[in-house]
Amino acid sequence: MTALSSNSGATEAEAEVVLSLQGVHKRFGDLEVLKGIDLTVRSREVVCLIGSSGSGKSTLLRTCNLLEPIDAGTIELLGHDLGHERIDPDAVRRHIGMVFQSYNLFPHLSVLDNVTLAPRRVLKRSKAAAELEATELLARIGLAEKAADFPDRLSGGQQQRVAIVRALAMGPSILLLDEITSALDPELVAEVLGLVEELAQQGMTMVLATHEMGFAKEVADTVCFLEEGRIIESGPPGKIFEDPDDPATRRFLQRIIEAGRL
């Protein structure tokens, strides 16, 4: 029981589609944030969403677990249309793990209780079983001795790793990571990205909104460049970062390089 994710290995060629979006539109009042998003995420795939702030990356992730309702288009999780009238959002979210920029650990609960809350209250696991599993997961990321501590005693990097473990404890089919290193001090970024990389190697299906271009280049199977609510260009990182087709992608990468971030 050392694997962090419980994904069964699908064959490379015919990996099952975990998440698919077709023509997704989302508007806040007059502002159209997503203007027709098509995206397919297969089992064991790591998709990185890149693009400047306000390009719609976060909103895209939040529509996938129904935190934001969409105005048009369809989202399917494991072949189920999430727009169906009898869809239970709580049931959908049970299968989608989400990690946020600001960690959002529950400050009134210990690290252990943060991790066991959902398994106990949603999956109705016994306290003992949930704590055993949570302790194993925490030990895997080297934070077993912090189990009884409250989140505010932990560094940002530790908090974010606990937030990832909290999502993993529900055994999700896919993880959505929303700029999870953006609020961290620079020296703490590596420990969080290291954990994400480990998950990728173990076959966790993930969609990341990220500004860490080096990381995206290394870990992503697919990179999608978003601008003004559209996916302008997507493909393997080698293609997107080395030889992008679209002038907008080239302009964006040029700015990143000038800022010394790639």
């Binding site: 976060s58 677990n65 935190l67 959002p89 709580d90 049931a91 979210r93 049970r94 989608i96 793990g97 989400m98 946020f100 920029q101 600001s102 960690y103 959002n104 650990l105 529950f106 400050p107 009134h108 809350l117 959902a118 209250r121 949603v122 409250f150 989140p151 505010d152 005693r153 932990l154 560094s155 940002g156 908090q159 974010q160 937030a163 909290r166 999502a167 529900m170 609020a183 961290l184 001090d185």
Partner: protein, 307 residues
């Protein structure tokens, strides 16, 4: 560095600055100790002088007579003086029972005010009207209104209750309005990203409220809740207007019979014996919470709001 040019961001020709205060330095060390000793002596001297003055004798006799305090405290059935001590037990009992009911009802009102959607709109309206009324009308007015008004209506089963029941009802009515607003402020103080984190783990709205929002909300407003409890405890004195034999009413009788008002002093001391520890405790909780927040906030993201 070239001389200040039109495009420069930094102005190098600032006037000389002074970092020194023009007033005298504050007293430190031994000088400070001497100063505080002198000021203490002056204040104590003033109090002694006041108590020793001729009119102070009358004050002492009328308000601070220990013997009269004792008579008022234990009561004197022969003279028809009710016991302030026994009366105070009623104040205590009433405040505790009312507080428990208030804490439960107020949560319901707060929840009602925070509902969304058109179906519950009328209930929301009633809840808002109630909190406005309960907080806006003086407790004593409601007390007189219910306490004297309801018995005069001759409604079977309702108009024949004891004044203590009316008093309890009025205190619960007024304080539920206050406390529901305290709860509401507490719930609003919990960042929405806490709710989103809980919901994205698959927790239902109800479980999120119970396990994530309310524990944080109540911790945030605990000082305000304790404050309102101290206030409720004091306001049980208003029950005396209905002639209930509580501490203030008993002290009033003692004052009337003995022409001495030391009974009010002993009643005050009894109230202070409860409210002072309660407010000190509130202060301690607030200080502890503040220290915890200041000391613990190592994570940069704790203060980061959601996008």
């Amino acid at each position: 560095m070239p001389p200040t040019s039109a495009g420069a961001l930094i102005d190098r020709d600032e006037p000389p600055i002074s970092l020194y205060s023009s007033s005298r330095p504050r007293l430190r060390g031994r000088a400070g100790t001497i100063a505080s000793t002198v000021s203490t002596i002056v204040v104590i001297g003033l109090i002694i002088a006041l108590l020793a003055s001729p009119s102070a004798a009358a004050f002492r006799k009328g308000f601070l007579d220990v013997h009269q305090m004792w008579i008022a405290f234990k009561g004197d059935p022969q003279k028809g003086i009710l016991s302030v001590g026994k009366g105070f037990l009623l104040n205590l009992w009433l405040s505790i029972v009312c507080e428990i009911i208030v804490l439960i009802l107020a949560l319901g009102i707060a929840a009602l005010r925070m509902t969304r959607g058109p179906v519950l709109m009328p209930f929301r309206g009633v809840a808002i009207a109630y909190t406005d009324f309960g907080r806006g009308v003086p407790v004593i007015l409601v007390m007189l209104w219910i306490g004297f008004g309801v018995p005069s209506l001759n409604i079977p089963g309702i108009s024949t209750q004891s004044p203590v029941v009316y008093a309890g009802f009025v205190l619960v009515f007024s304080y539920t309005a206050y406390v529901s607003e305290v709860y509401r402020a507490g719930i609003l103080s919990v960042p929405t990203n806490q709710v989103q984190a809980a919901r994205s783990l698959g927790l239902s709205a109800g479980t999120t409220l119970r396990r994530v929002v309310l524990p944080q909300a109540i911790r945030n407003v605990l000082p305000a809740l304790l404050n309102d409890f101290a206030s409720l405890q004091k306001d049980t004195a208003i029950v005396s207007t209905l002639g209930v034999a509580e501490a203030v009413h008993a002290a009033q009788i003692a004052g009337g019979v003995e022409f001495n008002y030391s009974g009010f002093t002993i009643a005050s001391l009894l109230f202070l014996a409860v409210t002072v520890p309660l407010t000190r405790y509130t202060d301690r909780i607030m200080a502890k919470d503040r220290n915890r927040r200041l000391a613990g906030n190592g994570g940069a993201g704790a203060a980061t709001s959601s996008p």
